[in-house]
Structures are given as C-alpha cells and as structure tokens.
C-alpha cells in the first residue's frame, strides 16, 4: 500500500501538528470561556444600565479581541495541515471527517465572525439590545465551532457510522447521526468546553488578583471575580462529571489509552488507581520490571473508573499487547497477522479488479471483509508499536487532574473572601491567584496530550496508523516547515504577550 515509510518524516509531521494544535489551544479556551463571561457582564450592564459594568465589559472585550485574533490565525493552519501533511488521511477519511469541518464553517464561523464586528465596533451603531444579542452570538458561534471540530476529533478516537470501500480505498460515512451522537463526542464536547470555561475564569481571576494586589481598579476586580469564580465553580462540576465519563468511554473504546495514562501494565480484578507515582520509564511491555519506582494506589478505583464497579477487570498494557485468553482479550500480537491478511487481500482485490478477474476479486474481497476489523494492525511492525508513551501519558493525566482539583479550591476561596468583603486583604490568596491562568494553560495542554498522544500510533483508532495517514513528503521539507512555524509562532506569541500585558497594565477606561 505504501512502499517506503519514512518514520522520521512521520514524526516531524506529528511534531508540526502537535506544535500547531498546542499553540492554537493556548488561545482557544480563552475565547470559548471569555465570550460567555463577557456576555454575562454585558447582560448585567443591559439590565442595570450601570456604566461601570459597561466599562468592565469593554475592558475584558479588549483582551478577548487580542486573544481572538491569534486564535483565528492559528485555527486556519490546522485545516490546511490536514491536507498538506496528512493528505492520505484527508483522502481516506475526507468523506466523513470533512463534513463536520464544513458544517463548522457554515454554521459556526460565519456566526462568530459576522457578529464579532458588531460586538467590537457596534456600540454606537446598533441598539443596546442588538449589541447584547451579538455578544451572545459570538459566544454561541465559537462554542458551536468547538462542537463540530470535537465531533470530528471524537470520530478519530472512536470511528463509527462508516464503512470501508475497497474500490475507492477509503472510509465512507453511512450514518451522520451516529458520528454526531457518538458517546465520545458528547463527553469530549462537554469536557473540553467546560474546562475552557474554567481556564477563562482563571484568566479573569489572575488579572483581577493582580489589580487587587496593586490596589488598582478594585471595584472592577471584585465584580469580575464574583462572576468568574461562580462560572468557574459551575464549570468545574461539569469538568469532573464529563472527565469521569471520558475515562469510562476510553475504557470501552480506547483501553490502551486508559492503561497508558494509568501506567497500568498488568490487568487485574479489581484494579487500583495510582493517585501519585514515579513512573519507571525503562519499563517495557512484557518485561518483569516494576511499573513505578514509587506509587500511591487506591484499591479498586481504576475498576470503578473503567467499569463503574469496584470489582471489574481492567486490562493492562500487557493484556492489550500480547492478549489474555482467560479474559478473552485479543492483543495486538494476535491482531497484526490478521491485519496483514486484510492488507494483502485488499491489494489482491485491487490487482484482480485491474485485470478484470472477477472470481479472484470476489475471493479477495471476502477475505478482506473477514479480516477488516484488524486492517489498521496490518501496518504495525510489532505488537509493542501499539503502546503510546506511558511516562508522558501518566504525568499529563495526573497533572491535569491535580490542577483541576486545585482550581475548584481557588474559585471557592476567592468567592468566599469576596463575599466576606476582605478579599483585598488576603495577599496570600491574591499571590496564589495571579499565576493560576498559566496553570490553567498547563492543565489544558496536558489534557490534549492525554487525548492525542494516547491515540498513538493511530490517526483513526485501530483503523489507520499515522505512518499511513501522512503525505508523501521528504523529511527535510517537513522539518523546514516545522522550524518556519516555530519562528512565526515565537514572534506572534511575543507580540501577543507584550500587547496583552500592556493592555492589562493600562486597565479599563476610568470613570468620566
């Protein structure tokens, strides 16, 4: 199917996509969450007519605009990169994956971009009501955009509603509702958007805490904190529930991902959850080494997370790589030869069709269909290739969870003291609050590492490995592009940070 796979090139392409996606994701959560927070502020202004709420709204809107521009700029890169660096993928799944992307553009981007102009420049040109509606439209548009791209992403994690067409050599959609309503899509959307609301709330808390420390704009800061901390706490509840659901869905559809982020090598009934630990990075599947140098395990918790019961069997990496007959688990080791038969029978089918040998084609197609569920495994060289990097996964997952717990505490503390009326005196809390936004970014990025590194080596789970999904490019070309983007992103990030800090220092317009 693909004559010579240059893994160097594939890894550069992965690095380029990871760079772009992670860079993009510094800005997007802020857009998703801040758009709602601004809409809430403006709603209060609309209902009370209090000009200080208008100034507060306009201040956060200014920061939103600076962030929004770079989010837009980096978003288009991802769409292009699917084609430029993952063209085989684009062909093989374009029939399914392209649809949510196009719907995102038609149903969400236009809404966002059209009303963005009103939100920013329409204060004196349209009525107050129309302006408020426009602000909500921007929030709805940006979150709708998240919905569609996450539907597309969820399909990569759990491909449903499709079948493989051997004539065109691609996956084709047969049920759009199955794609949209996939349980992974639902949990991914709720988890991603609610965690974005948390991050935006942290941004408001960070900036407001800094103002209180500097004894500037204290009324604005306190009012901002009330709305942001309340929003943050509510969003955190959704983060917890949807996160639990996401882990459960992983256990059902991507058990290797769950096993990797838990450093769970040997399946057990019941299985404990490692709350904290130091991963033994030299540990390989199937060897006798310990998985952790140090671990704090909660008995039965992993079974509860994965099976909703404290006594269920949770397969470990070894079970998923080498199989476990007792538990009826087929491992990558057993799937690879079956996958190779699928790959070969597809090639036989195409060769027979080319020379018009229908009998041979039918026979090859029958064989292919029998082995189709293992098709993707036919491209793996060895069973261990099916394992994502355990250390990266474990630490990313645990950092994300720990930070999520910290954020709820921070929101609650800020809310408590602001209601008590002495938040400005709580210097220790304000000092903790200032860097919270950066921890929010860390948690977001860690979450995406878990989601995407955990999918490796697959572009489409179990169906299409990244080594086949890539464009036929040489390593130097992709490496050069990578460094071009590093340079561009660095310049843009410096510009964004400098502008943002300057605007924060400047603060909102003063009362006239």
């Amino acid at each position: 199917m693909v004559e010579a796979i240059d893994l160097g090139m594939v890894n550069w392409a992965r690095a380029l996509f990871a760079l772009t996606a992670m860079y993009h994701w510094i800005f997007v959560p802020l857009t998703l969450g801040l758009s709602w927070i601004i809409a809430f502020y403006e709603t209060i202004y609309y209902r009370t007519g209090d000009e200080s709420w208008s100034r507060l709204t306009k201040f956060w809107m200014k920061l939103f605009g600076i962030n929004f521009a770079i989010g837009v700029a980096t978003g288009i890169i991802l769409e292009f990169e699917f084609g430029t660096n993952w063209s085989n993928y684009s062909w093989m799944v374009g029939d399914i994956f392209g649809a949510p992307l196009a719907i995102e553009g038609i149903a969400a981007f236009f809404l966002e971009s059209t009303f963005f102009a009103v939100m920013f420049f329409g204060w004196d040109r349209v009525s107050k009501k129309f302006h408020l509606v426009s602000t909500y439209m921007v929030a709805i548009g940006s979150n709708l955009s998240a919905l569609w791209i996450l539907v597309a992403n969820a399909w990569m994690q759990h491909p449903v509603g499709m079948e493989f067409n051997p004539d065109t050599a691609r996956f084709e959609m047969v049920d759009i509702m199955e794609v949209i309503l996939s349980p992974i899509a639902v949990s991914k959307f709720t988890h991603t958007t609610s965690s974005s609301f948390v991050m935006a709330s942290l941004f408001v808390i960070s900036v407001s805490a800094w103002y209180l420390l500097k004894q500037r704009h204290q009324l604005l800061a306190k009012r901002s904190i009330v709305v942001a901390a309340t929003f943050g706490i509510i969003a955190s509840l959704f983060v917890g529930v949807s996160g639990d659901e996401a882990a459960y869905e992983d256990a059902q559809h991507q058990p290797m991902k769950l096993a990797a982020f838990e450093g769970h090598f040997v399946g057990a009934d019941p299985s404990g959850l490692v709350a904290m630990g130091i991963v033994n990075t030299s540990k390989k599947p199937g060897d006798d080494q310990q998985s952790f140098h140090l671990e704090l395990k909660i008995p039965g918790m992993l079974s509860l997370l994965a099976q909703r019961t404290t006594i269920g069997f949770v397969p470990g990496i070894n079970d998923l790589v080498y199989g476990n007959e007792v538990e009826g688990i087929m491992g990558a080791q057993q799937k690879i030869p079956l996958g190779k038969i699928a790959v070969k029978s597809l090639a036989d089918y195409k060769a027979a069709k080319k020379v018009g040998d229908q009998v041979k084609a039918d026979r090859a197609l029958k064989t292919f269909r029998e082995h189709e569920p293992y098709f993707g495994y036919g491209f793996l060289e060895k069973p261990e290739d099916a394992v994502p990097p355990v250390g990266v996964m474990f630490y990313s997952f645990h950092i994300m969870v720990l930070l999520a717990g910290l954020f709820v505490t921070i929101f609650a503390a800020f809310l408590f003291f602001v209601y008590k009326g002495n938040i400005e005196k709580m210097k220790w809390l304000l000092l903790i609050g200032v860097p919270m936004f950066f921890l929010g970014i860390a948690a977001q990025e860690a979450g995406w590492v878990v989601a995407e590194v955990g999918r490796q080596p697959w572009a489409i789970q179990d169906m299409l490995p990244v080594s086949i999904a890539r464009t036929n490019l040489d390593t130097g070309t992709v490496a050069a592009t990578f460094f071009m983007f590093v340079a561009l992103f660095t310049v843009l990030l410096i510009a964004e940070v400098k502008i943002m800090l300057t605007q924060i220092k400047k603060g909102p317009e003063e009362e006239k």
Binding site: F82, W91, A99, L111, T502
Partner: protein, 376 residues
C-alpha cells in the same frame, strides 16, 4: 427529498456551491486589495487609519469564506483536497503564511508595545494582499494548466516536481491569473472604501481612490485579455467517451461554446465591473462596489464552471493524465453529499444575517471621529 437526487446531480450541485464560495471569496478580496492601497493611495496617518479600520470590519468575513471554501472542498471533493494540498505543498503553505500574518495584523497594528511595530504589520497586510492573492491565482490557474502528480491505486498522491507546487508560479497563464486577481482586488478595494468612508475628515483620499480605480482597472484589463485569449486558444484536459483523459485542443473554447450560460455570465460580469468603474470615475458614484463585486462574482463562477463541467478535469495531471481529477471521480459519496446539501440549505440564512449586520453597521459611513476609542 435531496437523497432522491442521483450522485451526478449532487456532484454538479456541489461544484456550483464550491464555485459560489470561491466567487464570493474573490469578491471579498476587496479586503486584500484595500490592504495594498495603504502603500500608494493613503498618504497620511489619518488616511491609513481610516482604510485599516474600514477593512478591519470586514476582514473576518473574507477569512471565514476562505476557511469555509477549504472545508467544503474537503467534505465534498476530498480527493481534490488531498491531492492539491498534499501535492502542491509549498504553494499552499506559502498561501497559509500570508493569511496567518493577516489575521493578527488588524488587531495588533496600532496596539502599544506590539513587538514588530506598526510598519511591520502593514507590511504583513501588503504581503497578504499581493503574494497571497498572486499565489491563490496561480493555484487556481493550475485547474486549467495542470500539475505534476500521480495517484496510485489507493489514490495517494506523489508529486513529481521538486518545487512541490511553486512551479505553478512559473507559468505565464497562472501568473496572469494571479496578477489579474491582485489588480481586480485593488479595484474592488478602492470601490469598497469609496462606499464605506466619510471623506469629510480626509477629503484628498476620495480623489486618489477614484483615480486608483481607473488605473488598476486598466492594468487588470491587460491581464484579463491575456487570460481570455489564452483560454480560447489553449488546450485542456478532458475525459473522452471511453473514460480516458486526453489533452484536447481548444478545450475551454469548446466548453464556452457548449455552455452559453458561461458566455452570458462572463459578459455580464465584465459589463458589471466596467459599469462599476465607469460610474465611480466619471459619475462620482459611491456604489461601484456592488457592480464591481457582482461582476467579479459572476466572472469567478465562470472560472470554476469552465473546469468543472463538459467533461473537463478540475485538477489535471501533466505527468499521468489518467490520475486527473474530475468532479465525478473526486467527490464524496452520495450519502455525504446529501447530508452536506441539507447543511448547505443554511447558507441563505447565513447570507441573510450577514447582509442584515453589514447594513446595520454601515448605515453611517466611517469617519475619523468614530475611531477615537475603538480603532485598529
């Protein structure tokens, strides 16, 4: 209802939708054209501020249209998406860069402490309005002149030219198309600004913009003439009755002849643009953008129709003609096209709210006094 349509009809409908999105993008290129006017038409800082802020209220629409255009090709014609983007790698990467730098420039240009300075962001806007548009023209030109690629049995692309798409910029037809788009965008940019600005605070700018409309139109005409003559005389790849792709003499002239609607749209488009320019320069009208824009839209439609129908190839392969793409072999399945057609029914609603917002925001022309507090 839509599901009852046959695959061929859906493929043809979707090429019309792609053509319409592409043509709307060409109209919205007034943003790109306007960006280049910053460097010759605007003479004072106030004039620059007016131009940037006027365009700054519309750049997102043009950007979004480009994204939707790409996304729609991905969904409806994935083989075109994978072959062109994956094959002509450098040309698309270069186009991408010019749009990334555009997206931040409006917001960051005037902000304090913006790292590369106001001039830097204005140069970004110039690059987007010139290099970006030129390369888009060259990329679209390859729909006519062909590209260097092969597809294997699994439809995976192998590009056979070391420049990976940049070679398109060395073909006179592709370059002419790119230059035509640049100067057409400049005409549209000037027409839009004449419609959108209140010149009381910048009285000299109006005269310069009207002059610019005529000058750029004359230059545009030269490239348009090259394109039209070439189109009538050049050979093009088409599908024969036995399904083979061959180079056919006078292919695009034959396409025009076979589809009189294309000729009508082309003539109407040219007429609209000429009328828009004429009333702007000689009747002191400020609504030329609507004629120029409509004309550009119609010409854009014809460009896409010429390669999409009458047995033509939308993406011909020079090195292996049988790998060439048509709207029939590059599309998604009947099911996906049906779903996407239902989604496309949203388009009129989208258009309606865009028109509503555009009118609401532009009822009062933009003047310097509007820009005191909330300017780019």
């Amino acid at each position: 209802m839509i599901g009852a349509l046959d695959l061929t009809t859906l493929q043809e409908i979707w090429w019309v939708i792609i053509a319409a999105l592409g043509a709307v993008f060409l109209f919205l290129n007034f943003v790109q054209g306007g960006q280049t006017l910053l460097f010759d038409v605007a003479k004072t800082e106030d004039e620059k501020t007016l131009i940037v802020n006027s365009l700054g209220r519309k750049w997102e629409l043009s950007f979004t249209t480009l994204v939707v255009f790409g996304g729609s090709i991905f969904a409806a014609f994935p083989k075109l998406y994978s072959t062109s983007f994956g094959g002509a790698y450098w040309v698309w990467t270069a186009i991408l860069f010019t749009f990334i730098i555009q997206a931040v420039s409006y917001e960051y240009r005037k902000k304090a402490n913006n790292f590369i300075g106001q001039k830097g962001y204005e140069i970004f806007l110039l690059i987007n309005g010139t290099v970006g548009v030129l390369l888009i023209g060259a990329a679209v030109g390859t729909f006519f002149t062909g590209s260097n690629f092969e597809l294997n049995d699994y439809n995976f692309v192998t590009w056979t030219h070391p420049l990976r798409g940049l070679e398109a910029a060395f073909n006179y037809f592709n370059v002419s198309l790119g230059l035509f788009l640049i100067f057409n965008a400049r005409v549209l940019g000037a027409l839009y600004l004449l419609n959108n600005l209140d010149f009381n605070s910048a009285p000299l700018l109006e005269g310069r913009l009207r002059k610019s409309v005529l000058i750029n139109f004359v230059i545009e005409l030269v490239f348009l003439l090259i394109i039209l003559v070439s189109l009538l005389l050049m050979s093009g790849y088409g599908v024969t009755e036995n399904g083979q792709v061959e180079l056919m003499s006078y292919k695009f002239a034959a396409n025009l002849w076979a589809n009189p609607l294309d000729i009508i749209l082309l003539l109407m488009g040219l007429g609209f643009v000429i009328w828009g320019v004429y009333i702007t320069k000689y009747k002191a009208a400020n609504n030329g953008i609507w004629y120029g824009g409509t004309g550009t839209f119609l010409i854009g439609l014809v460009v896409f129709f010429l390669v999409g129908y009458n047995g033509s190839c939308i993406y011909p392969s020079l090195t292996h003609p049988q790998s060439s793409l048509t709207i029939y072999n590059a599309s998604s399945t009947h099911y996906t096209l049906t779903v996407m057609t239902y989604v496309a029914l949203l388009m009129p609603f989208v258009l309606a709210y865009i028109v509503y917002v555009w009118r609401a925001m532009d009822l009062k022309k933009l003047s310097l006094s509007d820009l005191k507090e909330k300017a780019y």
